[in-house]
Symmetry: C2
Subunit: 499 residues, 2 copies
């Protein structure tokens, strides 16, 4: 066996352990009885530790060196070159972090989650503050270990969005904010032009479930290689290119929760199902970054799923599924309902227009925290001031404010920006697909998503983690990530809806 | 940390890996989409290999030696003494088997299963024969590695029923056979005295499911620490003492399939849920043997679940659950129906009386194969002759004969006898519990199973793998495993039913 083959074999073992951990994680959130929690935590810790140890082993380092020495002359975008490049990057980063810090971060995250649940319940930020301080300190230590040039935030961000820097975000996000704030303000003056009462009727769970599955199937989600289950928080998980699962939750009093939840996760799942089979059991069998992943979920959820074209096809279906609620509704009324805009407190419930403002605030706050410009004790006040300034609303309590999201409690700092990047990219990709597929709108209007999926497969999905996000975006769209197309898309769509 | 503590920590890692593998196995048989199969096989192979390597490591050997040296004076039935004793036994056995043989056995089993599926479908034994020959040869090699005094069969049997020998089986089984054959013959002359037509009506799946859950709950199965799902073949699996799951299958045209399937698996699950929490994450957190495990499933399925007392309580419930089928049936008719006896071809469908004759035949054949007295080419003929001699029926083809069970194709030789041992033990234990709990029958008649469960917890469950089956049986019943109580039980029960 060549060194490369040996390396691949060793990496496949790591991949098996990670895949096994994902199965355990999926079960934990779908079917596990309450009693299983303690043992599950131990099993996941053991699998995580063994996967980490197997990956950072000297053996992998030697095989990697050997394989790099062997590999001369294969093109830089070949599977092999990309594999070696990605593994070297991952390996060097992983070796920089001492195991004791890895363990400390895991412990702090697990404790942080527990405290956060209680703190949010009681709307008690001071209760959460000490645990959050520990998490923040450890994340700064992590940034020091990983290394950075300009800001420690860069090191954290790079874990989720390889190659992206804080300075790049500042540039894109300030352009985005400059466009969003007046747009939100303008819509805020016309809120009464859209009424979504029709979505708040009683939609039986079983019918919602069946309709969601039908929609996912139409989009191209392969149920021979996936399935949908229920969980408290919707997610997508992958145990292999050929076993990619989604979950959703159902609210019988609000149709969009399950429906757009399914379309969103389906977008993630189409990405994972579309990764080249050749990359199976390798570190390349995953998404290029969280931002690129989110571009896929948002593209299917919003660019497709909240478009008029999509509902030209699906509206008669949804009417048939819920005749008592929708037989007297019009396509136009339904379309406007699912695109209702309202500045609100909770990120996960936010519409397309206001959503990114939530992210921009979190980005500003967490970079201030990481760079030491903001003390944790002052965070709730800064949060509320930021909400007021950008969205015009102020949380009545911290549970609906600074404590609303689980991420920070789990040690995820530098993670939120990827949501906004995904939104921006979704529009760039969709516009590029539209110009590549002249009849795309007509196809969507008759419920045919094959050309779009094929285009995404070729330009994004099949490459897995082969390229850095910036390379992948350049290859697919011919330009870098930009805010302008997203702003233009919002303005066009919402000036029509809100006149 | 003492050597014992270090040893426990290392064993806990092995336990985590095995628990993780069990989750993957459960998912494979319940929810996994077809596409997931290939990656799942890799993941399970990796977990199995890592658990094996971690267990047979020199480090465990040294810690074990150190812990044994430390441990002087703790009573021989203490958790620690038993742990060291069991780990030494397991470790010495595991170290005797070369990894290349372990891998060969796994490969042959996986290939054997695949060929067997086809061979059974085509009722083509010669198609299966070469794969079976490989399996048999490897099992003989395994017996040589493990070592034995009298028969290579002892070494194989010992994996499933520690401490049991072929000579012991021969003695118990010949007594059993001598009692069963005339009993079966006598009932065969009176088959028309019991008609089970009432069980062959249409029983809707959802109602069967709900009734099964209700019965399991009443028996004491803790759904906070378990759950029931559907699978093609019912099984029980355990990821921890606090996460023990069962599966069943439902036949809408035959009530007993799901009902007694649930009671059977529930018996296994009550055992696993009853293991002392102190043994969690250790090699002692499991059943003493497959025979002892089967005694628990059979006790709840047959001694309890097919008793008149049980149905005195449950018959009105089952009538209410299926009024259209059962409102005109009597308790007596129902009781006789679920205890109908008929010599038949298929082991898994066999009644209490004829069941063990299926096992005895398999035991005779597989010990002849292992000891080289029977050639594989002659197996189908020997099978058919054995069926004729003991049950009076002859399979029309090999699919319904020698190819019916999956076990051999999977490398399980020396495994079948544990089913019969479980049957015998179930009666010994139940009789002992009856004498310890004078009002047991009355309690069962009012749907109260707590005293029985408590007795089993104290005498069997909580000890996990601490004792050898022979020790455990002696402690619980005051006597060794015997065939006489089982024969007496059958004669009494069935002479009443068949008069």
């Amino acid at each position: 066996m060549t060194k490369l083959e040996q390396l691949k074999e060793s990496l496949a073992v790591v991949s098996d352990l990670n895949g096994a951990a994902s199965v355990l994680g999926w079960d934990q959130q779908t079917y596990m009885p309450p009693g299983g929690a303690a043992a599950r935590a131990e099993q996941l810790a053991t699998l995580g530790r063994m996967a980490h140890e197997a990956f950072i082993s000297d053996e992998i380092g030697e095989l990697l060196e050997g394989a790099l020495a062997e590999s001369t002359g294969s093109p830089s975008d070949s599977d092999e070159s990309c594999l070696l490049c990605v593994v070297r990057r991952d390996y060097e980063k992983a070796r920089k972090v001492p195991p004791v810090l890895v363990a400390g971060i895991a412990r702090a995250a697990s404790l942080g989650m527990e405290v956060w649940v209680q703190a949010r319940k009681d709307s008690n930020f001071p209760l959460f503050q000490p645990a959050f301080q520990t998490i923040l300190d450890l994340q700064r230590d992590l940034a020091q270990c990983l290394g950075f040039e300009e800001s420690p935030y860069d090191a954290l961000l790079d874990q989720y969005e390889p190659g992206m820097k804080k300075s790049g975000l500042v540039q894109i996000f300030s352009e985005l904010k400059a466009g969003l704030v007046p747009l939100v303000q303008s819509i805020s003056e016309r809120l009464d032009r859209v009424d979504d009462g029709v979505l708040h009727r009683t939609y039986p769970e079983a019918d919602q479930w069946a309709f969601g599955l039908e929609a996912a199937r139409r989009l191209g989600y392969d149920f021979q290689r996936g399935r949908q289950d229920k969980s408290v928080h919707p997610f997508t998980t992958s145990f292999s290119v050929n076993d990619v699962r989604i979950t959703t939750r159902v609210d019988e009093q609000f149709l969009p929760t399950a429906l757009f939840g399914t379309l969103h996760e389906c977008g993630h799942a189409l990405y994972e199902q579309g990764i080249s089979q050749k990359l199976e059991r390798s570190p390349l069998a995953g998404g290029a970054s969280l931002g690129v992943h989110e571009s896929q979920s948002r593209l299917w959820e919003n660019l497709v799923g909240r478009s008029r074209s999509f509902w030209k096809f699906f509206f008669p279906h949804v009417q048939r599924a819920f005749p008592q609620n929708l037989q007297d509704a019009s396509l136009d009324c339904f379309y406007r309902s699912i695109n209702r805009v309202e500045p609100s407190l909770i990120r996960v419930e936010a519409d397309e227009v206001t959503y990114n403002l939530h992210i921009l605030l979190r980005f500003e706050l967490e970079s201030d925290l990481v760079e030491g410009r903001l003390a944790l004790a002052d965070l709730p006040e800064a949060w509320n001031a930021g909400m007021k300034a950008s969205l015009g609303v102020v949380p009545p309590n911290d549970a609906q404010g600074v404590l609303q999201d689980v991420h920070w409690s789990n040690g995820l700092i530098g993670y939120f920006p990827t949501y906004a990047l995904g939104n921006l990219l979704s529009v760039q990709l969709f516009e590029k697909a539209q110009s590549a597929i002249p009849l795309l709108t007509a196809e969507i209007e008759r419920g045919d998503f094959q050309s779009l999926l094929d285009w995404l497969r070729r330009n994004i999905h099949e490459h897995g983690r082969k390229f850095l996000p910036s390379q992948l975006i350049q290859r697919a769209t011919g330009e870098p990530l930009r805010a302008v197309p997203y702003l233009r898309y919002l303005r066009e769509k919402y000036s029509e809806i809100y006149r």
